[in-house]
Amino acid sequence: MQPVMPDLGPVFPETVLTVLALVLLLADLVIKRKETIGLLSIISVTAVAYLLAGSLGTTFGGMFISDGYSIFFKLIFILNVILTVLISVKYIQIEKIDYGEYYSLILFATLGMMLMASAGDLIILYLGLELMALSTYVLAGFMRRDVKSNEAAMKYFLLGAFASAFLLYGTSLIYGLTGTTDLKAISSYIAGHGLAGNPVLMLSLIMFAVAFSFKIAAAPFHMWAPDVYEGAPTSITAFMSVGPKAAGFAVLGRVFLTAFGSVRTEWVLILIPVAILTMGVGNIVALSQTNIKRMLAYSSIAHAGYALLGIISGTADGLSSVMLYMFAYAFMNMGAFAVIIMLRSEGFRGDNINDYEGLAKTHPVPAVLMTIFMFSLTGIPTTVGFMGKFYVFMSAVEAGYMWVVIIAVIFSAISAYFYLRIIMYMWMREPKEAVELTTSPAIGLALLITATAVIGFGILPSSILTFARLAITGF
């Protein structure tokens, strides 16, 4: 058989990113100012974003799909890179970890996420997932002289391996059952052979659910998140809380709605308890946190729980609401982490909730911004966080899961306590000690982007919602 050259068009942005990431790794040797590498990595992903528009198509025999859905998520990943780099520049100097490979690893992790979003085959999915995971393990342990950072990396790695095993186990079960790893072929095989209720299919569904739940930090597979979030460099925590989570949702949506769409009634039974448990654990444990990074780790768990409702509803509206949610979450969480990073300075960790006491008196502008982000995370109207929650809840109500939404709203109300506590500390307490802020133009830009987006998309959500809805036509 004559070997046919596959169409490289759809995979072109990823190819470019691979090359650029490798170039940056080498450039580290000649470039002394590491900010330059940061800048170059922003330029690289911007170029990739530009290429995305022309990449629509399917290639490698359906293994790689570049469609509206994947492009939407890829834009979130790219946004994630830009914001992460912006908040990193100064921070990694303070932590004395300003090495060039920091940026390359971020790009490689992003490459993994992009592969995940485009995976039309379980093998590609696994490949992307591992590329992302391995890069983030290293990034989590990037502060190599810091015990906590090392511990975070180690835990993340071992538990991640554990989760990967589930994914592989699920993949092999489904391969054994259907004889394929292609998502569309799996779907038609299940429908064609009436496999609903098949115990092997059940088992593999559970395996997939577990593996993806691990990535999005859904309970009870979230245990790694608080420790890793706390130990990792704060900029990486921000990166991890947005990117891999969005990537997890991208594959969750694609695998469960494409391959297992016909057995939705089965996997909903797995995801609903997981979602409720996730919202419960995330919100309730967040209440008693004293470290803001840990608090946001639990908050991030809780948000995964809300977003799961969109997958559970299984409709087009549900899926687009999850996309909107991830988009919203990227901005508000990044913004919150940017403020946290500003509090970190030489000899001052600034990640304790008490450190925020009276911040409004000493530094009103960051306090106002933090207030906006906390409101958004709570889901107060006119912020993008409200929009995300509103549409996710709405889709679940329309799909007939009113009772789950009621539980979600109750947990959402509970969550107001720990978000608003930060606001209360900032505005209603007297400052105890003078907090020095570490500012830089880059972080200022990151805050400007995030705050503008949080308010802007909160007031004018229709553009992004329309984009998300358009993106999944023909999904």
Partner: protein, 643 residues
């Protein structure tokens, strides 16, 4: 005509600039931003009016915030004849009062705060009148209420002021609750909250009934009355009028702008805007007419005996608002809006004059301690005198034309209660003239009755204030000339322009009566006005001993009126005290301590301790984490198998 967007958004921009930079950068220049913005709005509003006059109207959705099924939350603008008139009223009064405030608020420590609230208020008010759907109307409605709360309690370190702010807010809750229900009913009935489809379809629901608390009620009547609840609260009608007199605790420009010219008239605007709904229900119209008539009489009688300068004008406002509702209730929406428009000028002027007097008197408000001020402050005296002539309905001035039209429509219109409300309206015209001139004579004529120190201090107000007074005075005199009744107009070749102008939106009921009757109604109302002025002249300038004797002779009447029919006391007795008592004894004592406390503290405590327990699961030990994951998997497998 997209430039109309500037009308609301210029004041919004001014608010944002002032609130962000007012304290640190602008300081005593804060007024510039606000004045320029609102003056810009005025210019655009005039241009918009011109467009509307030339026949252009507009109903446009700007953007949609949330869509959920058939429910849409969006911002849209409707610019028609009614909106155009309201825009002129709001921006003109707002601009002039902004300018006046420069002098009045000079040196106040919250200068920038005052102007930013004023801008925010203007924005909300404009959003209210420009809305093309009920939700945005509601947004503006609550927005002006919020600003009103801020501004009444502007001197928040004064307890009476912050109490008055709270009172206004809480009393309005009662009305707005009904208003909110009304909007919900509209959505349930029509499936939309946009004016156009609602008003177009209202007719087809006219015969529908709905079960309300066990009674079959006409659907449209119920909607109209629920909406009117909002009007009652916002426009301070019986029985929710109690907040407006207390709202006088706010700075005087605020009383003029919010509590005379604009916000309080929103209720009238609402009824006029929803005329398609109200006109379908005779019951609702009757309720509107009677509420208006009774309120206007009630407030006018209280106004007779009060001594607080601003409160007299406040009661006068309540009374005149009643007049507007009276007009709407007999189907004369145009007349109601016409009176709203003329009233805005002369009432704002009266308040600003009162502010000017307070300025001279060092904050003194008791008219019994004034007197003879006319020689110290001629501009204030002259303008206030003209404003009072206008409100008394002296022919040729603004108030005359609108009042006459209302009375004639009441008399001749088809309303079953028309003759009754006409009679009440005429009596009120007499009372209005009387108390307005009682105020003038006691304040500006006779001998000064205050302290020497005050007398020494008397002076005319600064230019920014007096010029504003004169400008508003032009309005108070001439605003009515756009609505010259056909009776006179035909003779001199002028048409009743404003009625014709508003006909497409508000319709225009023709009175059924002869010319002779129309002359009679007019003559009676003029006579009532002059009689009121004459009696005030007689009692307070000629025979100054009589008022005291009268109040002794009829001391019980005087006492009832002076104590405002004891409404506040009544509410205190039946509402506030039981509420506070039950709050203290039942809520705090039992419910709060035993139930709520248990829930409010107990649940978080439980959650908190649960949280701390749960947190212990997070041991930090990898093996435990893997164990929990594995357990989770097993539980899910078990769940799926045991299903």
């Amino acid at each position: 005509m997209n430039y109309y967007l500037l009308i609301p958004f210029l004041p919004l921009a001014a608010f944002i600039i002032n609130i962000l930079f007012g304290r640190s950068v602008l300081k005593e220049n804060a007024h510039w931003v606000s004045i320029l913005a609102v003056a810009g709005s005025w210019v655009v509003a005039v241009a918009t009016l011109m467009d509307v006059i030339s026949g252009k109207t507009l109903n446009q959705n700007l953007y949609t915030w949330i869509v959920s099924g058939s429910f849409k939350v969006s911002v849209g603008f409707l610019i028609d004849q009614l909106t155009a008139v309201m825009l002129i009223v709001v921006t003109t009064c707002s601009t002039l009062i902004h300018i006046y405030s420069v002098g009045y608020m000079h040196g106040d420590k919250g200068y920038y705060r005052f102007f930013s609230y004023l801008s925010l208020f203007t924005f909300c008010m404009l959003m209210l009148v420009m809305a093309n759907n009920f939700l945005q109307l509601y947004f503006g409605w609550e927005g002006v209420g919020l600003c009103s709360y801020f501004l009444i309690g502007y001197y928040f370190d004064k307890k009476s002021a912050s109490d008055a702010g709270k009172k206004a807010f809480i009393v309005n809750r009662f009305g707005d609750f009904g208003f909110g229900l009304g909007i919900i009913m509209i959505f349930i009935t029509f499936g939309t909250v946009y004016y156009e489809p609602v008003f177009n379809q209202a007719g087809s629901f006219a015969a529908n009934t709905v079960n309300f608390l066990g009674y079959d009620v006409n659907l449209i009547t119920l909607i109209a009355l629920l909406l009117f609840c909002g009007s009652i609260g916002k426009s301070a009608q019986l029985p929710l009028h109690v907040w407006l007199p207390d709202a006088m605790e706010g700075p005087t420009p605020v009383s003029a702008l919010i509590h005379a010219a604009t916000m309080v008239t929103a209720g009238v605007f609402l009824v006029a805007r929803c005329n398609a709904i109200f006109s379908l229900s005779e019951t609702a119209l009757m309720v509107v007419a009677l509420t208006g008539a009774i309120t206007s009489l009630f407030a006018a009688t209280i106004g007779l005996v009060q001594n607080d300068l601003k409160r007299i004008i406040a009661y006068s406002t309540i009374s005149q608002l009643g007049y507007m509702f009276l007009a709407c209730g007999v189907g004369g929406y145009t007349a109601g809006v016409f009176h709203l428009y003329t009233h805005a000028f002369f009432k704002a002027l009266l308040f600003l004059c009162a502010g000017s007097v307070m300025h001279a008197m060092g904050g003194e408000l008791d008219i019994q301690k004034m007197g003879g001020l006319k020689k110290y402050m001629p501009v204030t005296y002259g303008t206030m005198f003209l404003a009072s002539l206008s409100i008394a309905g002296v022919p040729g001035l603004a108030g005359f034309f609108s009042k006459d039209e209302i009375l004639w429509l009441a008399y001749s219109g088809p309303s079953p209660v028309g003759k009754l409300v006409w009679l009440i309206g005429t009596v009120v015209a007499f009372l209005t003239a009387f108390y307005s001139f009682r105020l003038i004579f006691l304040t500006f004529h006779g001998k000064f009755r205050g302290t020497h120190e005050q007398e020494h201090h008397l002076h005319e107000s600064p230019k920014t204030m007096t010029i504003t007074l004169m400008l508003l005075c032009i309005g108070a005199v001439s605003a009515g000339w756009v609505g010259i009744p056909a009776l006179i107009g035909d003779a001199v070749g002028l048409e009743n322009w404003i009625s014709e102008f508003m006909r497409p939106v508000l319709g225009h009921p023709e009175g059924h009566g002869t010319h002779a009757e129309e002359w009679m109604v007019m003559a009676i109302s003029i006579a009532a006005g002059f009689a009121g002025i004459g009696l005030a002249y007689f009692l307070y300038l000629r025979r100054t001993d009589i008022p005291a004797r009268l109040s002794e002779q009829f001391s019980w009447v005087h006492r009832i009126l002076f104590n405002k029919y004891y409404v506040d006391e009544l509410y205190s007795l039946i509402l506030i005290r039981p509420t506070i008592w039950s709050a203290k004894n039942i809520l705090i004592g039992i419910t709060d301590a035993k139930v709520i406390e248990a829930i409010v503290n107990g649940v978080p405590n439980a959650i908190g301790s649960f949280s701390r327990q749960l947190r212990k699961v997070q041991t930090g030990l990898l093996q435990h984490y893997a164990m929990i994951m594995a357990t989770g998997v097993l539980i899910i497998v078990a769940l799926m198998l045991l299903r």
